[in-house]
Amino acid sequence: QVEQVKLLDRFSTSNKSLTGTLYLTATHLLFIDSSQRETWILHHHIAAVEKLPLTTSGCPLVIQCKNFRIVHFVVPRERDCHDIYNSLLQLSRTAKYEELYAFSYNPKQNESEQVKGWQLIDLAEEYKRMGVPNDYWQLSDANRDYKICETYPRELYVPRTASKPIIVGSSKFRSKGRFPVLSYYHKKKEAAICRCSQPLSGFSARCLEDEHMLQAISKANPSNRYMYVMDTRPKLNAMANRAAGKGYENEDNYSNIRFQFVGIENIHVMRSSLQKLLEVSGTKGLSVNDFLSGLENSGWLRHIKAVLDAALFLVKAIAVESASVLVHCSDGWDRTSQVCSLGALLLDSYYRTIKGFMVLIEKDWISFGHKFSDRCCQLDGDPKEISPVFTQFLESVWNLTEQFPRAFEFNEAFLLQIHEHVHSCQFGNFLGNCQKEREELKLKEKTYSLWPFLLGEQKKYQNPLYNPDFSPELTLLEPNTVSFNFKFWRNMYHQFDRSMHPRQSVFNLIMNMSEQNKQLEEDIKELEAKIKQRNGQPDATFVKEHQQFAHSVPVALKTSPCFKKEQPLIPVHDAVRTIEGSNTADNRYSEFMEEFSKAEPAVVSLEYGVARMTC
C-alpha cells in the first residue's frame, strides 16, 4: 500500500491528475482516488511496466495493459516505486499455468454448476446442427488419443472415403500433422470448409495419401467437383517455406483443385503492426495527419481488410459456386482460424447469435489449437510468439457489425468483454495452447468456463436492433470491403480513455429503451388485468379494494418517472469493464455526469495551454 500516488491523465499535457492510494493484492493492482473511485488492474492484464526517470513530483510508473489500458502513476518516493515495479514485474510474469488467476478464482459455484457450465458449449451438438455426420462426412476416431495430431481435438470429421491409412499418410505430409479436416459444413450447398497446415512439399515432394485426401474432400461435394485450396499466406512467404521442406500444393499433382494465395501477413508482421498502431494512438497532442499517416504506416487496417477479403473469397466460392474450400497457412492455427471462422460467420446466421458466436470460438479457435497461451503471453515465454491474431478476428467482426447493424444478436460490449477475458486468465477456456494441454491441466475440474457468465449477463451484450430474420432467404452476409469502410476501432484501443468517447451513447439509450419497453408491456398487462377485475366485480367489499390498492403501489413504482432520466447515459460496457464484476458499488453515473457537465476535453485545454504561452 502506497499513499499519495498520482494517477495522470494519459492525454493531458496540463498534468491533470488524481491523487489516491495504490494497493497491491495477490491478483490485482488497485488504485482508490480521493473520491473513492476504484481502478482495478488485473496482474495478468499487465503487458509491460516501465519506470521513467525521476521528476520533481516523484517517480513515474507507466503500466501498459493487454486490454490497451495505459496508466501513468507518479509515486512520491523512489523506493516505493521501485518496490511496486519489482512486485508487478514478478506478479505479471507467471511461470506455471497453476499460478494463473483461473486456478484461484472462485465464483461461488458448486461442482455441478461448474460441470454444467463447461457443458454449455457442446461441439458434437454443433456438428449435428451443421448436418454431419451424413452420407459424405463421418466422425473419425483416428485422433482419439491425440496420436496423429497433438494440437487437434480428439473428435474430427473427415470424408467417408478417407480411410485411416489416407489420414495417417496425409498427416505425415502436413506440418505438425495437421491434416485436412472439416471445419464447417454448408448443408444447402453441400459444400465444406476444411482446414489443415501447409504440405511438406518442398520443391517437388508428393504424397499420394494427401492427394487422395483432397480428392476425397472434393468428391464429398456432389454439387461441384472442383475445390479451392486457399493458401492464406502471401505467395512470397509460401515460396520461401519450400526451402525448408514445406510449401504449398502443386496444382498439377492434385486433381480438380484451384489454388489461390490470399496474402495475409504472418504473426510477426501483425505484432509489429499493432505495436506501431498503439504508438500512434498513444501520442499526446496527436495531429490528424500524424494519426492518419501513422494508421497507414502501421498497416493495421490493411491487415484487417486482408483478413476480411480472404473470408469473402471463401464465402463466394461456397455460396456462388457451391465449391468446397480447403484453407491453410503455415501451421494452420492463426490465419486459418481467422479465415475459417469469419467465413462461417458470413455464411451462417447462427454464429451471429450470442450462443453461436461462443460455439464458433470454441470450434475454430479453441478446439483447433489456436495457441492462446503463446499468442496472448499467458505465461512468461517467447515474446516472438505473441501476436494479436484473435484481436484481429474480433476487430473484423466489429467491422461487420458496423456494416450490418441488425445482423448480430450481440453488441460491441460483448466483443470487448471476450477480448478482456482472453487475456485475463480468469476463466479456463483460453488457457493453454491446445485441447490436449487443457485436458492435462484438468481445467474443467479446476477452473470455470467463461460462457455461462457471459450468458448470465446476456442483457448487457444484446443488440437492441437485432433482427433474427435479417436477409431470410439466404443468411449470407456480403460485406463491402472497399477501403473506406474500415474504421479505427476507438472503443477497443481507447476503451479507457473516456475523454475520446461520444458523451452520449445512442446505443445504450436504445438498449435501455427496448428493455424498458418490455417492462412497460408487463405493466400494461397488469394494469389492464386490474381494471378488468374491478369492472368485473363492482360490488366488491372495500377491504378487498384496499388490499388491491396496496398491491398496485409497487407496480406503479416499477416505471417511476425518474426511471427515464436516470437510465440513458450509463455506458454499459463501462460498467462491465470496471473489473470482473468485483465492485458493483462503483456506479459510474456520477462520474459521468461530472465529466459531462464539467470536465474539459484534454486536448482543448492543451491547446489553450499552448496558446497562453504564446500570448
Binding site: 494512438s281 495531429s287 472497399v482 374491478r534
Partner: protein, 550 residues
C-alpha cells in the same frame, strides 16, 4: 425568352440514365430553363429525375460512334451519366446544360421563377429579424443597443442595416471604427452568454499597417465590452506569421501596447483556396473505390479535410472556453471576418447555447451568423468539388461548418433537436436551391435583388410540419449544459452522409435507423398507455373511496 435560345434540342428519346445504386433506365430527357428532367418510359412504374441546372458542377462528354455520353457531376457530389443517341443531339444537350448551369445573372436563377406548391404558414423572410434578437437580449442586459448606423449600407456594405453594439458607443464612433477595420467590419455583438454576462464579438482585422496605426474609438469600443478589472481575449484565426504579413498590405492585428486589457491568441484556420483544394482532393479520394488501404489513408490525409475540421473545432472550443471557463469576453476575427471568423463564432454558440441546438435556434444561428453577417454565399458556393475552372472565390467554408456541427452531433447525439439530414439539406440548398435564402453575398445585395419580395425563403418551406418531421432527431432531450466535444483525431470521423453518400449503399444503416425510431416511438406509445391506464385505475379508486365516504 432567353432560355429558349440556349436550348437547341429540348427533348431526346431513348436516353439511358446511369445513377449510383440503381439499374440503368431508358427514358426521355427534357431540358427546361432550370431543370434537366428525365422520365423513364416504363408505364408500370414511371420514374422521374429532376435536376436543377444550378446543381450541376461540371459536365464531361464522350462519343462512341454516334452515341454520346454525358457525365454530369453535381454540387451535392452525385455523379450521373446519360447515354444519348445521336451526335448532334448529344452535342446540343451538352452545350445547353453547360450554358444553363453557368448563368451569369442571379435574376435568371430558378428562385426567381419558382412558384411554391405549398401553403405558406410563416414567411421565412420575416422570421429572424435582428429586432427580435435584440428584444431577447434586452430582457437580460441593458448594456447594448441596436444601431442603425448602417441603415443604407453606407458604413459597411457587408453588414446588415442594424447591428448590436455597446450602449456607450455612439454612431459617430462606429463610423470612425469602421474606417479602421478591413471592409469596414467594425466589432459587433455576436453572442451574449447569459450564465456570466460574457460576450463574443466579431469583426475584421484592424488596419494597423506597417506603421502601427491606432484608433482610439476602436480601443474604446472593445474595452466597453469588458467588466471593470477584467481582461478579454482576442482570437485571431490566422497564425501570427500570417497576421504579421498582413501588415504589409495595410492589415494587421491589435498591438498589446494599445490594447493592454486584451490577450491575443493566434489560431490557424486556412483560407478559401486551400479549403477548396482540400474538398476537391477529399471527394476525389472518396470517389475512387479501387484504392487499397494505404492509398485511401494517404489520400484522406493529403486532403487535409479532417485537419481543417480539427482546427476549426479547436478554435471554437477555445472561444467557448474563454467565455464559459475563464469568464472573459472574446473578440474573434481573421482577415475579412466573413469566413473563419463566422465558423468560430457560430460553432462556439452551438457549444455554449442550448438554444442553437434546436431547429429554430439553428436556423436563427445560420441567419444571424452567416447570412446577415455577410458570408459571401454566392461566391463561396458557386462551384463545389468538381469545378475545373480555377476561380478563386469558391470555398467550402459553410460545408466545413456543417461538418463540424455533425461531429459535435455525433458526440452528443441526444442534445440536438435536428438530425444529420437537416445538415445535409442545408448543404444542398446552400449550393443549389429553388429558394432565395442563400442567393447574394450579403444583406445589401439581397435587398437590391428584392429577394424577400421576389423569391421564397427556405425557412417557409422547411418549417412546415411535413418537412420538419424528416429533420427531427428522435433522441432529442433538451440539454441545458455546455457541451465540450473531443477534438482528438481518434474522435473525428469522415462525414459519410455527405462524402460517401453516392459511393455505397446505406440500406442496412437506414434499416437500423428505422428500427431505432420504431423502438423510440413504441416506447412513447407504451408510456402513454401506461399513464392512461394508471389514471383510469386511480379514478376508479377515488370513486370507490367516495362511495365509501358516502
Amino acid at each position: 425568352m432567353e432560355f429558349a435560345e440556349l436550348i437547341k434540342t429540348p427533348r431526346a428519346d431513348n436516353v439511358v440514365l446511369h445513377r449510383p445504386f440503381y439499374p440503368a433506365v431508358e427514358g426521355t430527357l427534357c431540358l427546361t430553363g432550370h431543370h434537366l428532367i428525365f422520365s423513364s418510359r416504363r408505364q408500370d412504374n414511371a420514374e422521374e429525375l429532376w435536376l436543377l441546372h444550378s446543381n450541376i458542377d461540371s459536365i464531361e462528354k464522350r462519343f462512341m460512334g454516334s452515341l454520346g455520353t454525358i457525365i454530369i457531376k453535381c454540387k451535392d457530389l452525385r455523379i450521373i451519366q446519360l447515354d444519348i443517341p445521336g451526335m448532334e443531339e448529344s452535342l446540343n444537350i451538352a452545350s445547353s446544360i453547360e450554358a444553363l448551369s453557368t448563368l451569369d445573372s442571379v435574376t435568371l436563377m430558378y428562385p426567381f421563377f419558382y412558384r411554391p406548391m405549398f401553403e405558406i404558414i410563416e414567411d421565412g423572410w420575416r422570421l429572424f429579424l435582428p429586432d427580435q434578437e435584440f428584444e431577447l437580449l434586452s430582457s437580460v442586459t441593458d448594456e447594448w443597443r441596436l444601431s442603425c448606423v448602417n441603415k443604407e449600407f453606407t458604413v459597411c456594405p457587408s453588414y446588415p442595416p442594424v447591428v448590436i453594439v455597446p450602449k456607450s458607443i455612439d454612431d459617430e464612433a462606429l463610423r470612425k471604427v469602421a474606417t479602421f477595420r478591413h471592409g469596414s467590419r467594425f466589432p459587433v455583438l455576436s453572442y451574449y452568454h447569459k450564465k456570466n454576462g460574457m460576450v463574443m464579438m466579431r469583426s475584421s482585422q484592424p488596419l494597423t499597417g506597417t506603421n502601427g496605426r491606432r484608433c482610439k474609438e476602436d480601443e474604446k469600443l472593445i474595452n466597453a465590452t469588458l467588466r471593470p478589472g477584467k481582461r478579454g481575449y482576442i482570437i485571431d484565426t490566422r497564425s501570427l506569421n500570417v497576421a504579421q504579413q498582413a501588415r504589409a498590405k495595410g492589415g494587421g492585428f491589435e498591438q498589446e501596447a494599445h490594447y493592454p486589457q486584451w490577450r491575443r491568441i493566434h489560431k490557424c484556420i486556412e483560407r478559401f483556396n486551400i479549403l477548396q483544394e482540400s474538398l476537391i482532393k477529399l471527394v476525389e479520394a472518396c470517389n475512387d473505390q479501387s484504392h487499397n488501404m494505404d492509398r485511401w489513408l494517404s489520400k484522406l490525409e493529403a486532403s487535409n479535410w479532417l485537419t481543417h475540421i480539427k482546427e476549426i473545432l479547436t478554435a471554437a472550443c477555445l472561444a467557448a472556453q474563454c467565455i464559459d471557463r475563464e469568464g472573459a469576453s472574446v473578440l474573434v476575427h481573421g482577415t475579412e471576418g466573413t469566413d473563419s471568423t463566422l465558423q468560430v463564432t457560430s460553432l462556439a454558440q452551438i457549444i455554449l447555447d442550448p438554444r442553437c441546438r434546436t431547429i429554430r435556434g439553428f436556423e436563427s444561428l445560420v441567419v444571424r451568423e452567416w447570412l446577415q453577417a455577410g458570408h459571401p454565399f454566392q461566391q463561396r458556393c458557386a462551384q463545389s468539388a468538381y469545378s475545373n475552372s480555377k476561380q478563386k472565390w469558391e470555398a467550402p467554408v459553410f460545408l466545413l461548418f456543417l461538418d463540424c456541427v455533425w461531429q459535435i452531433l455525433r458526440q452528443f447525439p441526444c442534445s440536438f433537436e435536428f438530425n444529420e439530414q437537416f445538415l445535409i439539406m442545408l448543404f444542398e440548398h446552400a449550393y443549389a436551391s429553388q429558394f432565395g435564402t442563400f442567393l447574394g453575398n450579403n444583406e445589401n445585395e439581397r435587398s437590391k435583388l428584392k429577394l424577400p419580395q421576389k423569391t421564397m425563403s427556405l425557412w417557409s418551406w422547411v418549417n412546415r410540419s411535413e418537412e420538419l418531421s424528416k429533420f427531427r432527431n428522435p433522441l432529442f432531450e433538451a440539454n441545458s449544459l455546455v457541451i465540450w466535444p473531443s477534438v482528438a483525431p481518434q474522435s473525428l470521423q469522415l462525414w459519410e452522409g455527405v462524402f460517401l453518400r453516392w459511393n455505397r449503399s446505406s440500406k442496412f444503416l437506414d434499416e437500423a435507423q428505422e428500427e431505432m425510431i420504431n423502438i423510440i416511438n413504441y416506447n412513447k406509445e407504451l408510456q402513454a398507455k401506461v399513464n392512461a391506464l394508471r389514471r383510469q385505475l386511480a379514478e376508479m379508486e377515488t370513486d370507490d373511496k367516495m362511495l365509501k365516504n358516502l
